[in-house]
Amino acid sequence: MTETTSASSAPASSGGHEGNLITFDGVGKRFGDNVVLDNLSFGVRPGERVTLIGPSGSGKTTILRMLMTLTRPDSGTIQVGDDYLYHEERTGNLVPASEQHIRRVRRRITMVFQHFNLFPNMRVLRNVTEAPVHVLGLSKEEAEQRARELLDMVGLGEKLTAYPTQLSGGQQQRVAIARALAMRPDVLLLDEVTSALDPELAAGVLDVLRDIARTSDVTMLCVTHAMRFARDISHRVLMFDSGRIIEDAPPGEMFDAPRHERTRGFLQSVINET
């Protein structure tokens, strides 16, 4: 695993820089006439925890989905470490990546979803062991050992044989977090992971994520409206508007002294809402 950068580290500057774990360079995406991302460049250092905020439709979730290869960019490049995600280098030229290449690069990344997306046909334990066994090649015993530890950590050590439908939303999301961590990812993408939960259940999920932020050096990209949480765990906050980053600052600055008028307005509206 990678070295954690300190919370006060300067924001990575844009585009293809040495030492970045994730590098977006000139990434664009449009759905029809709607420009979702506009020539976007930014980098994330290993171990950094970055929160993406901004009004809905500003492109935050699209960024996570692109990293997870669920949405393809129209233009630009995305790098994970030294590897391009959607391209391969062949004789000095960048060509579209093969499925095999994408699978190899994608192995370092995983994602937790707003609606959990647990496999309803599998019990809790198998939800967490399925990919470690069939993707990482762990033995069943190793994978179950790992799954038990993670499920204990998220407080669901007693629910190994339950089916997802027998769990509350908050419990399902905690299983989903365990399932993601069982892959030992370098990058953990969190896409509005508490938006579908009641405040009470959301609190339990956020506590688990705080623990993970405290005890591991996994790189996190997080889209959330839970500003208190964002302030607690983030090294950096990126404010999005209309597919562009309009402010990039440590959480203290972003929340206490936002420089941009648009950021102030957005934060005000989020506070009023909650």
Partner: protein
């Protein structure tokens, strides 16, 4: 015309033999329809247009032409190019291929009914395509469509009299030859109707059991 109970009773053994043949054709044909329908459904979702398109054309063609035409084709044309099966096997293949075009639509609906989030979770966990299908998608898609699939057993069974046309000695053709031999049509045709009804009802009952047993869906 009086119902001749004696003649009716005498014709029962041969009619039952015929119904057994109908049952054999149904079971074999249904197995073909279950497997081939899934193959059609999967191929029609292929990312390669040169796989997807021809399969779509073949499926549409089979579905839009009468079963009887297909049975004749298999029975009379295939032997001329050196492929020969028994009439019963030909009939079962004909039924199976024809109904595979229906079951493939059922499978397709079942697969489309699996929420996109399940595919996305499989991608996020980097599961292979094969593993995604076998461990995630099909185990959720198939239970959803068990009731619809089960209904096709009965439909297929009721189509077995068409095999008469390709010399399969199933219930209807036995009844017809009984009539030709004895000049009494009332008894054999009444009996064969009752037999079809009884067996269809039993199948419907079995289908409900299968449905209750395997048709559970653990929706999220």
């Amino acid at each position: 015309m009086n119902f001749d109970w004696r003649a009716a009773w005498d014709s029962v053994p041969r009619l039952l033999d015929g119904m057994l043949v109908a049952l054999q054709a149904t079971v074999l044909g249904y197995l073909i329809a279950l497997v081939l329908g899934l193959v059609f459904a999967l191929l029609r979702r292929s990312q390669q247009p040169w796989v997807r398109m021809p399969v779509a054309v073949v499926v549409e063609f089979i579905r839009s032409t009468p079963l009887l035409v297909q049975l004749f084709f298999l029975f009379f044309v295939l032997p001329t190019i050196g492929i020969e099966f028994s009439p019963l096997a030909t009939g079962a293949i004909g039924l199976g291929v024809h109904y595979a075009t229906y079951t493939s639509e059922v499978y397709r609906a079942g697969i489309d009914g699996v929420p996109p989030g399940q595919w996305e979770a499989a991608t996020a966990l980097n599961l292979s395509r094969r593993r995604t299908w076998t461990a995630v998608i099909l185990p959720q898609a198939v239970p959803r469509v068990v009731p619809a699939l089960a209904n096709y057993v009965i439909a297929m069974f009721k189509d077995t009299p068409q095999l008469t046309a390709i010399t399969v000695l199933e219930g209807l053709s036995v009844a017809r030859s009984l009539g030709a031999e004895t000049f009494r049509y009332l008894e054999p045709f009444t009996l064969v109707g009752i037999m079809y009804l009884t067996m269809a009802l039993v199948m419907a009952w079995l289908a409900r059991i299968v449905e209750r047993r395997f048709g559970r869906v653990r929706a999220v």
